[in-house]
Each structure stands twice: as C-alpha cells, then as structure tokens.
Symmetry: C2
Subunit: 190 residues, 2 copies
DNA sequence: CAGAAATTTCAGAAAATTCTGAAATCTACG
DNA sequence: CGTAGATTTCAGAATTTTCTGAAATTTCTG
C-alpha cells in the first residue's frame, strides 16, 4: 500500500472498524478508498492501492453493491467497471440507516411478531411473551419514527437535528400556542 | 437446550443475530435468556439452559458487563452471582445507543479530527481532506443531536418519536405562530 | 465467430474468532 | 488458617471467516 499518509490513515482505520460495522477489513478499505477518491476507480487500481488479490476486490465490490454503498460507472471507450461512492454524505447516511435496519432490526421484528402470535403454554412463557411484547413495542416505535423521518428532505432533517431537545419544549408549548390561536379554552389536564 | 418453544426461538434468534450486532452467539443467547427470565439467573443455570461450557458463560458475562447490559445481583444467603437485565426497555435502548456510539462512532471521530489537523501535501490529499471534513461534519451533527436528546426523560423522548416528521411542519410553522404571539411583523423571507 | 480483456467463481490456504476442559485463583465462613 | 464453593484464566481445539490463485465465464471488438 503506497498512499499519501492521511489517505492511508483513513483507509486503514476503515479496515480496522469494518468488523465492528458488520463488514470486513477489505470491504472497509475499499469503501474508504472510493469515498476519498476524486474520480471513479477500477478494480485493478484497488488491487494496486490496497495490495490485495483481484478476487478479493471482486467479492468485496459485490458486497458493497449489496449494501448500495457504491455506484457502478462506465467511462467512454473503456470496458472496465469503475466505482464511486455517492457524493452527498446525507445520502450515504440514509443508505446506511436503511441497510442496517434491514439487516439488524427487521429480522428480529419478524421473529417477535411470529412468537407473539403463539399462545403461551406456561406462566414462564406468559412472562417471556410479555417481555417480548415490550421489546416489540419499542422497536415498532423506533421504526415508525424512522420510516416517517426518512422521507424528509435533507434541509428539514438537518433542521430537526439542530433543534435537538429544544423541540421538546416547543412541543409541550405548542398545545398552548395553538389553543390560543384557536381561542379554544384550556382544560385542567392540558 | 431444553426450553419452552417460544423462549427457545427467541434465544436462538439472538444467537444468530449476535454477529450482526457486534457480539457473538453465546453472548446473544445469554442476553436473550436473561431478558426473558422473571428472576435473576446464576451461571450454572445458563450452562444448563444453553448447553455450553462454564468458562464460556464466564467470558460472555464479562462481555455483557462491559456493555453495561446486565446487572449483578446477590441473593441473601447465597454466594453465587446472579444476573438480570434492566427491566425498562427504554433504559436498555439508552445503554445500547451509548455503547454502540462508543465502539462504532467515537473512534472514527477521533481519527478524523487527527487527520484534519494535518496540512495536505498534494491536491489529492486536499480533496481527500475535504471529503473527510464532510464526513466529520455530518457525524458531529448526529452526535450533537444524540448528546442533546439522550438527556430527555423517557416520556418526552417517546413523544418526540410519536410526532415524527410532523415536528418538521411545527418547526416551520413555529416562527409564524411565535411572531404572531409577539406581534412581530413578518418579513418576506419568513 | 475468434480471441482478447475483464470479471467471477471456487476450492483450499491462512487468519481470526469462539469454545472447551483443566488448572488456578478468589472468597466466605467455620 | 483451611477448605469448600464459586469464578476466572488460559492453552489449545474447533469453528467460522477471510483471502488467494487458478480456472471458468462473460463481454466486447475486430
């Protein structure tokens, strides 16, 4: 591997983090390399830059495509496949969220749904199902929120983030403001 | 393994998902077992229930403690260590978020910070640093939001989730409402 | 259609991880 | 203290994952 030191540091870091992120070292390194590259790269350039086998690159690119994390490009008058990452980091975030949900959350949700259909046979199972129902409920809340929020344009999403917990106060206050606006009398329990 | 079928299904599922979640099969199974159990369990009960070695249980419990996902309990007149998971699933979520951030995000943030301190030596490095700056900026936004929101009480957090993208409209509308409240004249750009 | 260029497949090697059994260590209590 | 019960450590076995090189396949071009 013969890369400028800052690029090398980033690539090696992504390789090391790969396993924590659910990908392997090579996949992480290739992704990092593509993310930093000003123009698309072909497989042989990755072999050269990362000092790994051609077949490893092929398999890793397939993996990155399964994650929708890379784009295949074709240059005019060149038969080779070139790859890039999407330019917009928000788009990358959306893809990552979607794919991780698909791999890490959805299977559990579906197992929980199936188990919760069963009739508990013992007090032990009854208690276990109650726990699973709690977990199922929480995951449902999170995924419903996610499905709702992921449709926002980036500017609004960014605004939501920047507000953070201030929104909480706004929400608590909103009822008051709105009711004032509508001149609806407040109830004790508001 | 001789468990009621619904419990067994859940435990096996957690074992299978373990590797995707950054833990291993045994750690996943033990966690699942503890989560469903109505009372704390000692190591030998886990050996019995999951049909694994005592040493494996010991190491896996250490791992779960490192994640802050289990609590150590002591029963009166019993020298053995008993373990449970926290009862509140929202608390579990908070722990999970904190620990995953620590393992999956913080190291990258710190590498990015370090690299961005360097002076780029070539146009290639200049471009790479610009990309890394984008990534750093996005992660910062996300972690700042997280640090802000994690301090909310659960009820408010749940409310925020249930509002989802509706909050976006509320935020966009808030300026209007508030300015009406304050009788501030609206500008064209509002 | 022949063949050159590019990519993919896959069996087995290499490496990393997980798990076990045996020994060592710790701890409470008589 | 001594010892019995409980837990931890750790070397090596078992398993899983990752990687390679060689062969097969696909795809474009003349």
């Amino acid at each position: 591997m013969n890369l400028p030191s800052t690029i090398q540091a980033f690539v090696l870091h992504f390789g090391e983090m790969g396993s924590r992120w659910g990908i392997n070292r090579t996949v992480g390194q290739i992704y990092a390399l593509l993310f930093l590259s000003p123009e698309p790269l072909c497989a042989d350039q990755m072999v050269e830059a990362l000092d790994i086998s051609r077949s490893n690159v092929s398999i890793s690119l397939r993996e990155l495509q399964a994650w929708n994390l890379v784009l295949l490009k074709h240059l005019p008058d060149d038969r080779r496949d070139f790859f890039t990452t999407p330019g917009d980091v928000w788009q990358i975030l959306r893809t990552l969220a979607e794919e991780r949900k698909k791999r890490e959350v959805d299977p559990t949700l579906s197992v929980l749904r199936a188990i919760l259909m069963e009739e508990p046979q013992t007090p032990q199972e009854r208690h276990a199902q109650a726990r699973m129902a709690e977990m199922h409920g929480l995951i449902k809340q999170l995924t419903t929120w996610y499905d709702d929020v992921k449709g926002l344009e980036t500017a609004r999403l960014a605004m939501l983030l920047s507000m953070g917990r201030k929104i909480s106060r706004l929400v608590e206050g909103a009822d008051k403001v709105v009711s004032l606006g509508r001149s609806r009398p407040r109830r004790e329990t508001d």
